[in-house]
């Protein structure tokens, strides 16, 4: 177990290292970061001066070293310094942290909604396999996986804001603001968790010990709740953990639809204004969180189910 945890830790460090390379290379995709960062009408002198100040006149490997360990006023990303946002004149990392709570709220509520919807429907669907309950929920999950969530967001706005005038459509000023965005953001996850719960339950329900329990005369309710659910829940727990990680970085489109003041909205604004330090900081932090959640989920998994082969 300890060897497994150490190996997973090392792997995570390597992953973070690769992510940093990607985030660094991002600005160099066109060959010259000054192209990307400077306004189009800058004079040649301005560009030259800017390059010198940022260290972009140095060879690439030196620039990468400076990116990690600091150059000029910057302390380097390894010490949490992604430079200043050009637009807001604040440290990029601070801006991202400022917008983070809104994204976390959105992702958490979305995951909670999708669990509340998906768990019972998935279980019912498997228990009453090939009945109308199963058909309806399977069709629902098929639509859920095919519907672009930003379109669902637009339709929710049409129905609940424009049509019924019940809920607000943009900003975050109270609990009623989170309902439509959370439904939108959680759509795909709901459909996915539902399918996994259903197939997990079906697999467990077909196993020997369930047959044994049934033949002993255990009531069907107890078979499902006591015996089947416990074993079907392990992959679901893993999936929910991972989906939370995916959602934190995946609410961008939802945030755009509802003008939700989270990290995604911040990044869209930053991209439109060529404010790339903010983009780099956001991508790196979200990747770090994803790697962290993944690590924790894997360790919990190994602890829950000691039979797994540590690979």
């Amino acid at each position: 177990m300890r060897a497994y945890i150490i190996r997973r830790l090392l792997q995570s460090l390597i992953v973070i290292k690769v992510v940093l390379v990607v985030v660094f290379v991002m600005l160099h995709l066109t060959g010259d970061p000054a192209d990307v960062l400077m306004p189009e009408d800058s004079t040649l002198e301005d560009v030259a001066e800017f390059k010198k100040a940022m260290g972009f006149d140095k060879p690439l490997h030196v620039q990468y070293f400076n990116f990690l360990f600091g150059f000029g006023k910057s302390k380097g990303v390894l010490r949490g310094d992604f430079g200043f946002s050009f637009r807001h004149e604040l440290p990029a990392v601070d801006l991202v942290f400022e917008h983070f709570p809104a994204t976390i709220d959105l992702a958490l509520v979305a995951v909670i909604i999708s669990i509340v919807v998906a768990l019972p429907t998935g279980i019912l669907s498997a228990t009453f396999r090939n009945t109308w309950i199963d058909y309806v929920s399977s069709i629902g999950s098929m639509f859920g996986q095919s519907m672009p969530n930003f379109w669902l967001g637009l339709m929710l706005i049409l129905i609940f804001a424009v049509g019924l005038d019940l809920l607000p459509t943009s900003g975050y000023e109270g609990w009623e603001y989170i309902i439509l965005p959370a439904l939108t953001a959680g759509l795909y996850q709901t459909a996915r968790i539902m399918r996994v719960v259903r197939s997990g339950m079906l697999e467990v329900l077909g196993s020997d010990y369930i047959q044994t329990a049934r033949s002993k005369g255990v009531s069907e309710y107890l078979v499902i709740v006591r015996h089947a659910l416990k074993n079907a829940s392990i992959p679901v727990v893993t999936l929910i953990g991972l989906e939370l990680g995916v959602l934190l970085g995946g609410t961008v489109v939802t945030e755009a639809v509802f003008a939700w003041p989270g990290v995604g909205f911040l990044v869209i604004d930053a991209i439109n204004n060529q404010d790339y330090p903010v983009v780099q900081a956001a991508v790196t932090l979200l990747a770090l969180i994803f790697v962290g959640i993944n690590l924790i989920v894997d360790i919990i998994y190994a602890w829950l189910d000691p039979r797994i082969v540590y690979g």
């Binding site: 990607v22 672009p148 637009l154 339709m155 706005i157 399918r195 995946g250 991209i271 790339y276 991508v283």
Partner: protein, 309 residues
Amino acid sequence: MAQEQHATVGEFAEAAEEPRGPTNFQLAVRDLKRRPPALFGLIFLVIVLLWALVPWLFSPLDPYDQNLRIFLKPPGFVDPAGNFYLLGTDQQGRDMLSRIIWGARISLIVGFAAVVVSGFIGITLGIVAGYFGGVIDAIISRIIDSALSIPFILLAMSIVAIMGPSLRNVILAIAIRTWIVYARVIRGTVLSVKEVEYITGAKASGCSTFRVLFMHVLPNVLSPAIVIATLYLGRMIIIEAALSFLGVGVPPPTPTWGGMLSHGREYIDTAWWIAFFPGMILMLTVLSVNLLGDWLRDTLDPKMKRLTE
């Protein structure tokens, strides 16, 4: 993630032992007739394909033709010249129906191209990782983990914004992430077939490594690759639309469903049809692709079920 990969090895070991006859295709066609959802998917997809290939045959009006005097007219509007606008007009007075029909092009081109590009990268890396193992496998596996941890939409948006919005860059931005799906599954498949007798036999009889990989390993991974391609085609179409929606897709005035939807958000209080119709068609297209994909998976390779869910 490690556990998933281990599960796949076992599953594919079983899958590889079952002989697959050449009549699968005929069986599949027969089966299709018994599955109305898949048949619906096929028919709808053929229609959208035709829209993409020969839009001028279906489009009643010019999708680029602006007329600010008739902007934001509701479905069923008839202008003084007698032109009929079945789905209404957009914010620049262009015919919604014609723009939806022409918009099928970008969605399908990006979807198919992204599937092919990511498939090429993913199959190659998956085979190399699975076959050679060791350090190469470890390196590719870490690259896969890293690509997984970077938020997809943010990365794609940044790439398009930095490299400039164009068809090519949108395809690259999508493919740069989706190859990992192929790579992971195919790595597992290769691990399970590389010790099978006919492959060790081919090696023993002096086949070059390239020949072994190309002639003996590749055919084994084609059927999971096709299944992944169909199951992910729909998602790629959605991602293209999302990028256009966010303003970093194929630039206007080219009609794209996602681009139309972003105007739908703008005018949602006054013109519901701009937000409704392009999204409806987009959803039906993705649904069709997914229904066909499910059917293809069940007929080609039932063992894929757990992997792709």
